[in-house]
């Protein structure tokens, strides 16, 4: 087969447009496609709707003024419970916010993945979500004898999903060896186009059956693959097997980044020091690739 889906981060960002809805995989400070996010930060893109279980990806995009609307289950760095740039954007009412229960977000992505307009759930009923948080949400009544009233969680359709995985080949076959795959599969299915950055890009993955079970979704969903060793930094990219690369998140760097939220002009200085010079300069500025990929895994 002559398929070759290899791209650069710049190629990916060149295919994005103002106003798009972009889903980002991972979870908080875990397995975010940060090298792709940094490429967006360097671009002129604006008015994005960003969807995900947010971490520094959402915080940085807010700080850089790229975001019109966030659709989120949370925006957290885990050991720093609230993302400070997200907090600033919310408290200044700079962004539209569709705040969801974590399970509702997966349900909305699943509805989109199944090409349904909505999926029913009890989650959100009897709270303030339908009144104060998301007044556009509607309920639906069961057509069966029970007559139960349920929330109709609308499909969260994505123009693009950005994911960071361990291994990919040029056909778009992938491997994900994380302790928890989170909802990357649903992001992929909910999106018209999926761009995967990876620690290791090979010509052809040809593995045994056990390894093939670590394939999170089929290659037909994948539009492009980007080689990005260390690309999740400063978030983690843990593997539970001795392949695909494995590293923890960079707590010191994340603290440095968060401290910038308390300084006047802090984001501009952070961007100047780390982002604006390109990915190679980024990796040098944070201590080099060897330092990134040997960051110890966090223990809980």
């Amino acid at each position: 087969m002559s398929l070759n889906k290899e791209m650069t981060a710049a190629d990916v960002v060149a295919q994005l447009r103002d106003g798009m809805t972009i889903g980002i995989g991972g979870w908080g400070p875990r397995r975010k496609p940060m090298s792709l996010v940094r490429e967006i930060l360097r671009s002129d893109l604006k008015d994005l709707t960003v969807v995900g279980y947010g971490g520094p990806d959402m915080g940085m995009l807010c700080a850089a003024g790229k975001v019109k609307k966030l659709i989120y289950g949370f925006v957290s760095l885990d050991f720093i419970p609230l993302e400070p740039f997200f907090r600033k954007a919310r408290e200044a009412a700079q962004i539209e916010a569709m705040e969801l229960d974590e399970g509702q977000l997966h349900w909305g992505l699943r509805a989109a993945a199944m090409r349904l307009p909505f999926l029913p759930t009890r989650v959100g009923l009897a709270t303030d979500q339908l009144t104060k948080v998301n007044p556009d949400l509607r309920t639906v009544t069961s057509p069966y004898a029970d007559g139960e009233v349920l929330l109709a969680m609308p499909a969260i359709k994505l123009d693009v999903a950005l994911l960071h995985l361990h291994t990919a080949d040029r056909l778009g076959n992938t491997r994900l060896y994380a302790p928890d795959p989170f909802f990357d599969e649903l992001f992929a299915r909910a999106a018209d186009r999926v761009y995967v950055s990876c620690e290791e890009l090979v010509d052809r993955i040809a593995s045994d059956e056990a390894d093939a079970q670590s394939n999170p979704f089929e290659r037909s969903l994948v539009t492009g693959v980007v080689a990005a060793r260390g690309g999740a930094h400063p978030t983690s990219n843990v593997a539970v097997v001795a392949k695909g690369g494995s590293y923890g998140w960079d707590a010191a760097h994340l603290k440095r980044y968060c401290a910038a939220a308390d300084e006047d002009g802090g984001w501009a200085r952070y961007a100047e020091e780390f982002i604006n010079g390109g990915e190679a300069a980024y990796q040098q500025a944070v201590g080099g690739l060897d330092a990134i990929v040997t960051l110890p895994r966090q223990v809980f």
Partner: protein, 265 residues
Amino acid sequence: MASTEFTLAELLICACADVWRDEGEVLATGIGIIPRIAQGLAKLTHSPGLMITDGEAFLVEEPVVIGAKNHDGRSYAGYMPYSRVFEALWHGRRHALVGPVQVDRWGQANISCIGEFSKPKRQMLGLRGFPGNSINHTNSMFVPNHGPRVFVEKEVDLVCSVGYRKERWPQGVKNDYMRIHHIVTDLCVMDFGGPDHAIRVVSLHPGVSFEQVEAATGFPLIQAPDMGETTHPTAEQLAIIRQLDPRDVRSKQLKDNPPGIRQPA
């Protein structure tokens, strides 16, 4: 045998562990250090059927030690990634011990924001899992700073988790699966056993009076008929707590690490 030497944190760990007594084979999820030690204590004492995780994506039958430096020696009984957490919690066999920022007389809780949602005075954690947890399975709450800013006079600023306020449950909305079991605070243990699920004090921590709890609460409280003193930790419980938390992380959870038996105010 009850011990005379224990800290308030250790008393609270034992009181928190008790929320899972007689709950059977449920997924126990304690958020924060004291609830996490408590779930391990419950599992190693009165509730061996509890399912707990390693704090990440795997089920363990031996609770993991707080503050471990590496994964050495861990063994896993099962798998519990977030996709399965959602499946399990929507299915109902879970009992979470959560830490709300505001709680009202109906047991409704807020962790999302203070002020108007559209432009919050203070953005907090967001809804997180509160809507889904609260309508699908049993929850208890841990409040280490019992005061009128937590236990508010009126309704919480933003109802994130469901409670027993009738007006919130219109015709057709099913409340069969929700249950708020206990609230453990630094002053007392409460439940919802009063008329129409009104909050009652079921036990006072050593040295705390009912009047003191009332003064720290924004809504009226009831005394349970058999209200007594919160059970002191036993020597066995304290030994297990030390084993689960060998670096004494628990001592840093409450300001000044107060003793378990406080002098009456």
